[in-house]
């Protein structure tokens, strides 16, 4: 009887262990690294577009002119897709960096696209972008588009999409401008 109990316990432990190990192994290392960027922070959404995959396409209204803009309209350019919000302090910090990088790499084919995930009015977003001296495309984000990019549950969230529309890199949260510039260079060099 004792032997039976030991066998049963071993089976329970083995099944649980194997299933958990399998689940952990199926996670991408990028997600695991990003999740570890802030202690205790929720991990990025499971639906994040993976590196090398085609960036989920969308159509959003531009601010302030209200023009329907498709991500695919930037094909042939390297796109820095930056999810941000007016209430996001770290987003505000990196906006001047993005302005400078648009100036520096625009003639090499970089297009920065800011997707505002605000619930506020278009005017407030436009005024804020104007105040920040934004010189790149600003679109009004939607929950649906956020879901395509893993839920966008933390900001800033930046994807680097090459000229062929594939995701080259992802930066979760605020990092230094040098990291962003390095990812831009890598993105400009790919998908030609």
């Amino acid at each position: 009887m004792n032997r039976n109990v030991i066998v049963v316990l071993c089976v329970v432990v083995a099944i649980t262990g194997l299933l958990l190990v399998g689940k952990r192994a199926s996670k991408s290392p990028e997600s695991a690294n990003a999740a570890g960027s802030a202690q205790g922070a929720p991990p990025p959404g499971a639906g994040d577009p993976a590196k090398g995959s085609v960036a989920p396409v969308f159509e959003l209204m531009s601010i302030p002119d209200g023009k329907a803009t498709k991500l695919t309209s930037f094909r042939g350019k390297a796109v820095l897709l930056n999810f941000w919000a007016t209430w996001c302090g770290p987003c505000k910090i990196e906006m001047p960096w993005l302005v400078d990088l648009q100036k520096k790499y625009g003639n090499q084919g970089l297009q920065i696209v800011g997707v505002a995930m605000d619930d506020t009015s278009d005017k407030e977003i436009a005024d804020f972008a104007h105040k920040m001296g934004v010189n790149y495309v600003v679109l009004k984000g939607t929950e649906k588009v956020g879901d395509l990019y893993g839920g966008v549950d933390r900001l800033p969230l930046t994807y680097f999409v090459d000229r062929s529309g594939k995701v080259v890199d992802e930066i979760v949260g605020l990092r230094g401008s040098a990291d962003i510039e390095e990812a831009i260079k890598k993105t400009l060099a790919q998908g030609n």
Binding site: N4, I15, G89, L174
Partner: protein, 195 residues
């Protein structure tokens, strides 16, 4: 003898089935926990409002204590930039209870490591919002469950998270001069908040 072996075999078989069920249950539980959406992540917890007892026609202080989970912070009630979302408390109240003017604590002034020049006014760790619970003179005695909601927006050192609402409840006993509240009175509940 035969019967004994057969019985033992059946027992082992049942134990294996049980083990399989327990293993699968554990795995399902672990999987559900890992797949839990970040939207459900807790940044702020309601700690307590203390023991609130008030006589009709009187008021009594109330202290709402909240805890901001480390390593996050939330904007104070008066953030230093107009586009930042302030922390605010809202209540849904029955006719028998009112909440007087709330006094929010001053925020701690801090800045993000990437931009020391920009100052923020935030709450981290525990913070307490003070207020007054008022029972109008005609208020019926009884225990009232009050529904409150804390609106906040959390950040850590390199990310910010979408604005959230933390619903919470606390009880207010409306009685006379500290006398025991009659057990016969039913507990009344304030309407839920729908925003």
């Amino acid at each position: 003898m035969k019967t004994g072996n057969s019985g033992s075999g059946m027992k082992l078989h049942r134990l294996f089935l049980l083990a399989l069920c327990v293993g699968l249950f554990n795995a399902a539980l672990a999987s559900a926990q890992e797949a839990a959406p970040p939207q459900g992540h807790t940044f702020v917890n309601f700690v307590s409002a203390g023991n609130v007892v008030v006589s009709p026609g009187h008021s009594t202080p109330v202290h709402f204590t909240f805890h901001v989970v480390d390593p996050y912070h939330v904007n104070s009630s008066q953030p230093l930039a107009e586009e930042l979302i302030p922390t605010q408390l809202h209540f849904s109240l029955p006719a028998e209870v009112a909440i007087g003017k709330l006094q929010y604590p001053a925020g701690k002034v801090m800045s993000f490591p990437f931009d020391p020049s920009t100052k923020l006014s935030v709450y981290s760790g525990d913070f307490v919002v003070n207020g007054l619970v008022i029972a109008p003179g005609q208020a019926s005695t009884g225990t009232y469950t009050i529904h409150g909601e804390l609106k906040y927006q959390a950040c850590d050192n390199n990310s910010c998270y979408p604005p959230k609402k933390l619903p919470f409840t606390f009880n207010v006993k409306v009685g006379s001069g500290g006398k025991a509240i009659p057990k016969a009175r039913p507990t009344r509940t304030s309407p839920h908040i729908h925003n």
